[in-house]
Every structure is written in C-alpha cells, then in structure tokens.
C-alpha cells in the first residue's frame, strides 16, 4: 500500500481488508482461494495488530462455521472466498440466515462452473448468492465498482449485517480485487454508520430470537431448527410459518433503506445501460463516447444487487427506448431486468463475456449503436 498527496494506491483486496477493519471487524476465518486470497493474507498481518483474530481453517465450511461462532461470541466477523468456496459455505450461510447471525462474506467472483477460471474475472455467483441455500430467506448482496465505492460498501455491509441480523455479501470480481488504483480514503461521513453491536437496539425488531450474544448472562439456545421467539425448536406450523416470513420480509420491507444505485446521465437517456460491478467501468467509457456521437445513453448500476431494485428498474425501463445489459456471465442480470420490466415492450440488448476477459468499452458502444439503430 502506498500513498501520495492524500490519494492511496491499494489493490482491491487490501482495500476491502482495510475497510473491514475500519468497520470494526476483529475476526476473520477463511480458506485460501484465488482471486480472494490477499484479503486473508492482509488480515493475517493486520488483525493481530489491533488485538483481533485471524485463522486459516481447514476448508470453507469450517471457515464459515468459525465466523458464525465468532459472531455469536460478540465479534464483527468476516470471511472471504470465491465461487467454489462459496458453494461450500452455503450450508452454514443458511444456518446464519436461520439463526440470524450477523457476518460479512466477501465473494471475489471467478468463472465457473466448478474450478472454471480461477484467475480471471467473472460475475457468475450472483444467483448462487441469492438462491444457493435451501429454504426461504432474503439476501443482502452489495456489488460495488470503483475503489471508493468498494470501501464504503464494505463498511456498509457490516452495518447492514448488524442492523438486519443477517449475513451480508459483498461481491466483486478479479478485476476489482487485483487492480491497484488511486483513490481517496473515504471520510467518516462517507463511510456511514460504524458502531459496536451493543449500540444496535433497533436490530431487536429484526431478530426473531432473543437479541443477545453468548456470555452475557442469558443462557441462550441457538439452533438452525425452526424455533420459537425464545429460540427453542418448534414444529408448530403457525410459528414456523411466521418465523420464515420474518426472515424474508424483514429485508423486503426495508428495501427502500437498503437500496442504493448509481445513476449516470439518465435524465434524458433513451438508452439505459444496466450493469453491475466491474463492467460498469467499460460502460462509463462507452456512454461518454456515445454521448459524443449524439446518442442519448446513460447508466443504471445497482450497488445493492439483492434485494434487487425491481420497481426502480421498472420505472426506468418505462422511460427509455432500449436497454443494454453488459455482464460477465450469460445473462443473470438480464434475466432480473426482464423480470422487473415485465410487460414493457423494450428490447434488451445483451453484452456477455464468460471467457475470463473484461468487456471492452468498444463492445458496449457497438451494442449501444445497434440499440440506437433499432429505436
């Protein structure tokens, strides 16, 4: 990490690790996997310096278990992984959803299926994050693009985890993780709320079970089984039904507070480029060039990917004549946009890349031009 004139040069993964520390994270458990490994390495160095704990576990399942245990014992806890590791963590992530254990999961996405492309960028886990676990529950997943945003959103992930008592994903890709860029460390104000767990009384209503950590004198029982408000197992259909609705709606109902999008030149846009994560960079360049050519294009980029900004996108698609969706998979975001837009007769032009390379601005621009010709 280096610094000149108030601007810092950090690779994305180190930046995420430092942002976690800024947010008050004192515990990390992980298992090495490219392209996320530097987050672990950096925290192995940094956490003991602040009296925190780093542990490299025997696999991703173990790492997720340790994170949940650490959180229950009172720490703000973090893990970081990538596609295959995320698959392994899913059962315990489901436990954290069910038992309402706050924690943060960084997913540096890589190409799949299976071992796929370990060292190349992809955006192939976005549906895995949403649907990877069994049972009904909501998910919060953040998909920042630029270093400053990555930092702020990592900090916000810890806040959201505490507030809604749930695991929160921060999902980036190899381009963001491994690019060393100049950025300015966000101020306290830009970072948003940072406070210890004990100062989240409002989280009480977002918690189905008793709101307390271990060793605080409450002798809590915490289980992944369906449970009563006292935390004890139950099979009473009415209670179980209500508790699962609680897991889903505590986040669905809070969408207005959780939703955060990036909008660029959309006011008069006829073509909306809807994208997320690192393709947002190529899209920015493409839109600027399109504007020079007189094409009215703009960008909409969900920073909160889950819960998905359905209504916001529906309203946007109503206003424009065509939509371009660049993404590093074969249409996971496009599918969500289609679902959100419902009956609107707007053509969706896709720009997809699954070869492990970035989407270049030229490709986005060419698609914008094609969309313009069709208007």
């Amino acid at each position: 990490m280096s610094q000149t004139n108030g601007r810092e040069f950090w690779p994305g993964n180190e930046l995420i690790a430092e942002a976690a520390i800024r947010a008050g994270c004192t515990f990390f458990a992980g298992y090495p996997i490219t392209p996320s490994s530097e987050i672990a390495a950096h925290l192995a160095l940094r956490l003991p310096q602040i009296g925190g704990t780093f542990i490299q576990m025997e696999d991703e399942i173990a790492a997720m278990g340790a994170v949940i245990g650490a959180s229950l014992a009172g720490a703000k806890a973090l893990t970081a992984t990538s596609g295959p590791g995320l698959s392994l963590k899913q059962e315990n992530i489901g436990f954290a959803m069910m038992a309402e254990v706050p924690c943060v999961i960084i997913d540096v996405q890589r190409g799949g299926p299976s071992t796929g492309l370990p060292t190349a960028p992809a955006q192939s886990d976005i549906m895995q994050a949403r649907w990877g676990t069994h049972g009904d529950h909501s998910v919060i997943a953040l998909t920042p693009t630029w270093p400053h945003e990555v930092y702020v959103e990592t900090v916000r992930a810890f806040h959201l985890a505490e507030l809604y008592r749930t695991p929160v994903y921060v999902m980036v890709d190899e381009i963001i993780a491994h690019t060393t860029e100049s950025f300015r460390i966000p101020t306290d104000e830009e970072c948003g709320i940072i406070k210890p767990r004990s100062e989240y009384p409002e989280a009480r209503v977002n918690s189905w079970r008793p709101f307390c950590d271990y060793f605080q004198g409450k002798h809590l029982h915490i289980t992944g089984l369906a449970h009563t408000k006292e935390g004890y197992p139950t099979t009473n259909p009415a209670i179980v039904h209500k508790s699962i609705e609680h897991l889903v709606y505590k986040i669905v109902d809070a969408q207005p507070q959780i939703e955060r999008n990036f909008e660029f030149m959309l006011d008069d846009a006829e073509i909306a480029v809807i994208t997320f994560g690192s393709p947002g960079r190529a899209s920015r360049e493409a839109v600027l060039r399109a504007r020079e050519m007189g094409i009215k294009a703009g960008i909409f980029r969900p920073i909160t990917f889950w819960p998905f900004p359905v209504q916001t996108i529906r309203d946007l698609v109503d206003r424009v004549k065509a939509v371009v969706v660049p993404e590093l998979n074969l249409g996971m975001l496009a599918l969500q946009v289609e679902k959100s837009a419902m009956r609107r007769e707007v053509l969706i032009h896709r720009v997809n890349e699954v070869g492990g390379i970035a989407i270049e601005p030229d490709r986005v621009l060419a698609t914008i031009e094609e969309a313009q010709r069709g208007i």
């Binding site: 278990g65 650490a70 229950l72 060793f215 004198g217 029982h221 915490i222 004890y232």
Partner: protein, 292 residues
C-alpha cells in the same frame, strides 16, 4: 442426597426426544456433574453440537448452547473460543457427526490443540436418520444401509485423535457413569484439545438389528467389553478382539495451546505496530516545516 440437575436443565424443553433407555441421557448427566465439579457457572460455559440424536443435548442443558449443522460443531466452537478464550467451550457429537461428515474438522481441531473439550457419543450407528452404518460401526454390523453386513473397517476414534495431536484422549462407557464423569471433568480442566469417546448404546437403531434390542442388556454388554487401559496393555491380540480400552489413553501438557499461542502473536504484532507508529511520528516531527 442425589445430585440436583434442575438448575442445569431447561424445563421448557421437556420432554426430550430420546428413546427411553438411550445412552445419551447418561452421558449428558455425567457432563453436567463434571461441569459443576469444575466449579464452572453456566454463563461462562458454551456447549455446541452438530446434528443427530446426540446433538440435541445442548437444547436441554441451561447454558450458552448452540445446535449447528451436521458435522460442523467444532468449527463453530473454534470461532467462539477464539473470540472468548477465557470462557469454557465444550462440544458433544455423535460418531457420524464427529468422524464422518465432521472427520476433517476433528483431525484439525486435534492438530491445533485448541482448548475445547469434545465428547463423542459412539453408538456405532446413525441414530437420528434411522440406523445407517457409521464410521465406527464394527465390520459386519447390520444397518439400514448394510443389510448384508457392513463392509467397512471401524475407526478407532481415540487412536485417530492421538495421532492427529489431541493432548487429552480418554474413553469411557455408559455402564459406568461415575468413571465417565471423572474422565469428562479431567478433559474439561485440561488446557488443550480434549477428546472423550463414550461407548454408548443405541438399542433402537443398532441394537434392534444386532441382537441387542434391550437397552439395559446392551449397556451391560458394552460394560463387559471395557478393559482398563493398564490391563489392556497386557492383553494378547486375540484377547483384545471385541474389547476396548478405557480410561485416559493419552495426555500431553507440553504442546502449546492454540488460543494462548495466538495471544502471544497478538502481543508481538501490537508491539511491532506501536514501534512503527512511534518511528513514523518521529520522522514527521523532524521534517522541516514548509510554508504553503
């Protein structure tokens, strides 16, 4: 006067899910007596489990309890212990939970020598799911998934734990609860990873298929096979077949305990960070003041 279990149990959780005569009850009672014998209070103690009949135990015991996912109890317990090294953390697990799906975590917890006490209830079968063979089912065991007899060789969980680096390894059985209590108590007091394997009865799923349908008879049969560790050393290979050694089988007080060792790393890291910050501050001070 008998031991009063009531302060240690959760009446709102009763009745329990176990079959009448199940060995898990004997083991949980021994565990409670052992914890009290250590003079520990409930608030400073956490009991963690995975999934299985055995793993329902924490629900009934009034302390900080955690019922996790199948096989993963030790990983959750590790997270708790790392954040709260001054608290007491114990895990109770079935043999399938601990040695099949959780086998990897078992060996690595032994290797780390983290100060957690693991009680493994070895009933040689998967009780909860209806009597499938487990990694500790003796060869030729009849189980729901081995109708012609189990082909696999059984794990010796104590030997496995010793080889993997656990620093207190003991074996007890359900036919001698007083002896078991002592083994668990010593394990709880041991600073390091302690494994207490308990040979237990599941007459419902194991016994019914293997000529021991009666719980009392099965408990007696298990007791008749137990040989104190000192006597075991003198047995011939033939005499050992069908028997198992009980007592403390391994104890090591030299190997460093994980959380204590980590504390030293923290101290070193904090000291080095402090020195770096000091040096940095000094450099800043000696810089010439430039006029903007």
């Amino acid at each position: 006067m008998g031991f009063d279990y009531s302060p240690w149990l959760r009446p709102e959780m009763m009745p329990n899910i176990w079959c009448p005569g199940c060995g898990v009850g004997i083991i949980v009672k021994s565990f409670i007596r052992a914890v009290e014998g250590c003079g520990w209070n409930r608030d400073d103690t956490a009991l963690v489990s995975g999934i299985g009949c055995t793993s329902r135990a924490p629900g009934y015991v009034d302390m900080n309890t955690l019922h996790t996912t199948h096989g993963r109890a030790l990983t959750f317990a590790t997270g708790i212990k790392l954040v709260a090294p001054d608290k007491n953390v114990a895990v109770i697990s079935g043999d399938g939970d601990a040695a099949a799906i959780g086998g990897n975590h078992l060996i690595h917890s032994c290797r780390r020598n983290i100060d957690i006490t693991l009680v493994i209830v070895n009933n040689g079968i998967y009780g909860m799911t209806g009597g499938q063979y487990s990694p500790t089912s003796p060869s030729e065991t009849r189980a729901a998934t081995s109708p012609y007899g189990n082909l696999d060789q059984a794990f010796d969980l104590c030997n496995l734990s010793i080889a993997a680096g656990a620093t207190y390894v003991a074996r007890g059985h359900v036919a001698n609860a007083v002896f078991l209590e002592r083994l668990i108590k010593n394990g709880l007091q041991h600073k390091g990873f302690a494994v207490i394997e308990v040979m237990a009865n599941c007459h419902t799923q194991y016994g019914r298929r293997n000529r021991h349908p009666d719980p009392a008879e099965l408990i007696q049969f298990i007791g008749s096979r137990a040989v104190p560790a000192a006597a075991w050393a003198k047995l011939s290979v033939e005499e050992r077949s069908d028997k198992f050694p009980v007592g403390v089988l391994h104890k090591d007080t030299v190997k460093p305990e994980y959380t204590a060792a980590y504390r030293q790393i923290q101290e070193r890291a904090m000291e080095r960070a402090r020195q770096t910050a000091e040096k940095h501050a000094e450099k800043e001070k000696s810089k010439p003041v430039t006029q903007a």
